[in-house]
């Protein structure tokens, strides 16, 4: 029945088994979409990396390019209209963008798997879940239908779907939202990949079910020592599971930081604005802090820093020069490992 548990110590998750080199590294990735109205620059030079056993949270609003980056990594971007004019996606040192299709197919699903947001539209409604789960084994490992079904039942047990044996030939609509998301997780876990990309895995779920699913995901990650890229806009979920965070705005990473640092001392006005707009107990009855204005149109991203029309700190330089993602230091110059900010005034934002 219901369990009451303490959240596990993070120390177990970090560190252990690192050979130093990142599992996946995205370097200066650009993605654009050619539309009738012009070129929409969805991703404009994104850099990030994930190690085995590490959780990277990519935080951003809709249109910030967080999902497009993930689709580019998986190689499921619609091309055309999508185009990757420059950049590298290195998986264990090999560039996936220059790879042959056949080679890439070997990585996809087997080494890197993805969990999608809306399980009902990600699953095929006319095939039983057992068949869809078994497909991974039939295609990648050449198992027979019978063997694949046995494996599918094992997987469903693994993600704690009750009565897996009876439910293996049920169809997606016969499952509840939380159960469907478990099936998505099972499908991603099937071949025990090294890296999982979870694109808003719990956004469509209720909070009590969200807690179950996130717990399951964290447990499986610990067990198989996988890297996890968690794409979300929920600052609460991020705080609960992430090791490090990359905040995206208008196709760029505007801030990177280890999770504790980011919440304590944001170094970019956008991050600060997001954190301050969370309703807090001591502010009840007062106005919420709100970032003014709207996220930019990707067809015409403002010149200079894309955030400048909404930024309380913007000055002339912000309207002309694009700020680079620079390492952030303490006031006395000591390095803060893993931290970076793409703001001309990060010093003032962090220390001021």
């Amino acid at each position: 029945m219901t369990t009451i548990e303490k959240t596990a110590d993070d120390a177990v998750r970090e560190g252990a088994g690192d050979d130093g080199s990142p599992l996946l590294e995205v370097r200066d990735l650009h993605v654009e979409f050619h539309t009738r109205d012009g070129v929409a620059k969805a991703v404009n030079g994104v850099n990030y990396s994930v190690r085995a056993g590490e959780t990277l949270a990519v935080l951003g609003e809709s249109g910030s390019g967080k999902s497009v980056t993930a689709q580019a990594i998986m190689g499921i971007l619609d091309m055309p209209p999508g185009k990757i004019p420059q950049g590298q996606i290195l998986f264990r040192g090999e560039d996936m963008l220059t790879m042959a299709g056949e080679e890439r197919r070997k990585i996809r699903g087997r080494k890197i798997a993805m969990i999608f947001q809306d399980a009902l539209s990600a699953l095929n409604p006319v095939l039983s879940v057992g068949y869809q789960l078994g497909e991974m084994f039939r295609v990648h490992q050449g198992l027979s239908k019978k063997e694949a079904k046995v494996k599918a039942i094992e997987l469903m047990d693994r993600v704690r779907i009750p009565a897996a044996k009876e439910r293996v030939s049920d169809y997606p609509h016969q499952f509840s939202g939380g159960m469907r998301q478990r099936i998505m997780i099972a499908m991603a876990m099937a071949l025990e990949p090294d890296l999982i990309i979870a694109d808003e895995p719990t956004t469509a779920l209720d909070v009590t079910v969200q807690a179950q699913v996130m717990d399951l995901l964290a447990e499986l990650q610990r067990e198989y020592h996988m890297g996890l890229i968690l794409i979300t806009h929920d600052l609460g979920v991020v705080a609960d599971v992430a090791d490090k965070i990359a905040v995206m705005y208008a196709g760029r990473i505007v801030e990177t930081a280890p999770v504790h640092e980011l919440y304590k001392r944001p170094a970019h006005p956008y991050t600060r604005g997001l954190l301050e707009s969370i309703p807090r107990l001591d502010r009840k009855g007062q106005e919420l802090y709100a970032i003014k204005g709207l996220p930019p149109n990707l067809l015409k991203i403002p010149t200079g820093c894309a955030f400048n029309p909404r930024c309380p700190r913007a000055e002339d330089i912000c309207r002309t020069d694009v700020p680079a993602l620079v390492p952030v230091t303490e006031q006395d110059g000591t390095e803060l490992p893993g931290r970076g900010s793409a703001c001309h005034f990060w010093k003032e934002t962090l220390h001021g």
Binding site: T3, K6, S277, L281, K284, L288
Partner: protein, 385 residues
């Protein structure tokens, strides 16, 4: 609230009246004119404006094509009672499928209730018709969840916001409407010159402002907001919440704020009701519910909410419920939460717990003394633990 009374009602689960809600002062109106006049009356701040008593909505499940037989019912709302006071915000939280949106539709008289009453200024609106019903509908307006589908793409903003005036011409005479619509646009923070634009020319946050302007058009007294910000981006949510709070002060509105985001509900609400499977599990002021919850479901719900503070993740006690919400077509006997509850005992399967102040807290002035529908109500601080 005597014990005997409670037991009597417990034996009879069909009519589980909540014993602790106040008596409704009904208005007897013989003619339609009297009824309309009574609806125009002002209600003082802090007085109940809307009183819901044992509201029930069952959606029939039928079988057969030619001769339909009813084989059951989805018990979407199954006996709910609460008061809404003038000028306050009542938050209603719960998981999907708990009936919160059905409550909104019932209050709007968009659905007919299976049983129970909704008193607006002392008149049961479930029985009104004609002019009196129109007068009620003028005063209770709604803001919908999805700003993308709740605005007609073929109508201009001016037509959308002005449409309520077509049905209620007494509010704004024809020649005056354009000016009125522009005023409303200004009130919700949009440029009045946008009056001839179409919804697709606006972002999600701006569209929700249009939806709010439409809700305000007839100067209502109550606005029912069904998940008004859940479809919006994080940085835009705060803007819309601030707007709604500002409008409440300016126009003296009462809100029923339905949402699943517990932190936003806490921010905006004066009182909060927690629903589970068609019933109210717990209701009280925001501090009573958030800091002193006594119903196990509320405790689980609050503890499951991810806290945007990484410092709290180590050592935070989380109650993780197993399983999903049972089907409202076949709810568990007795307490509906018992199938997922860690405190459940035999009594919970037999007796429906009443929404009342738990005996152990009754008469004390502790903040745990608020209405909670649990046989084993117990205070447990989950947010700060």
């Amino acid at each position: 609230m005597a014990d005997t009374e409670k037991n009597e009602q417990a034996m009879e689960p069909a009519a589980d009246a909540t014993p602790n809600v106040t008596e409704v002062e009904t208005v007897e109106a013989a003619t339609e004119d009297e009824a309309v006049a009574a609806l125009e009356a002002k209600v003082d701040r802090g007085e109940p404006i809307l009183q819901v008593r044992n509201l029930v909505k069952h959606f029939p499940l039928t079988q057969g094509i030619l001769f339909k037989r009813q084989i059951g019912a989805v018990k979407a709302v199954d006996g709910i009672s609460f008061d809404l006071y003038q000028g306050e915000t009542l938050g209603i939280v719960g998981e999907s499928g708990c009936g919160k949106s059905t409550v909104a539709k019932l209050l709007m008289t968009l659905e007919t209730a299976t049983a129970g009453e909704v008193f607006y200024k002392g008149q049961d609106i479930t029985r009104l018709s004609g002019r009196a019903l129109r007068a009620v509908r003028r005063n209770i307006q709604m803001v919908f969840q999805d700003p993308y589908t709740s605005l007609n793409p073929r109508m201009t903003v001016g037509d959308i916001i002005g449409e309520p005036f077509e049905i209620h011409p007494e509010v704004a005479p024809k020649g005056d409407r354009r000016r009125k619509v522009q005023e409303l646009l200004d009130v919700v923070g949009l440029n009045p010159e946008y009056i001839n634009r179409y919804p697709h020319q606006f972002s999600g946050g701006q569209r929700q402002r249009i939806g709010i302007a439409r809700g305000l058009a007839l100067n209502p007294e109550i606005i029912i907001c069904d998940e008004p910000v859940s479809a919006l981006d994080v940085s835009v949510q705060a803007q819309v919440i601030n707007l709604m709070e500002g409008l409440q002060d300016e126009f003296n509105l009462s809100y029923i704020f339905i949402a699943h985001d517990l932190s936003i509900v806490r921010h905006i609400s004066d009182r909060v009701g927690v629903m589970y499977l068609g019933k109210m599990a717990e209701i009280g002021s925001d501090t009573e519910i958030y800091d002193h919850p006594t119903h196990p479901y509320t405790q689980a719900l609050l503890s499951a909410v991810p806290v945007p503070d990484p410092e709290s993740r180590e050592g935070r006690t989380r109650i993780i419920l197993t399983g999903d919400v049972p089907s409202p077509a076949n709810p568990p006997s007795g307490c509906r939460f018992r199938t997922r509850c860690w405190k459940a005992e035999d009594k919970c399967a037999k007796e429906v717990p009443l929404l009342a102040i738990p005996e152990r807290f009754a008469g004390t002035d502790s903040p745990a003394a608020h209405e909670s529908a649990c046989h084993f109500a117990e205070e447990k601080d989950v947010v700060h633990a």
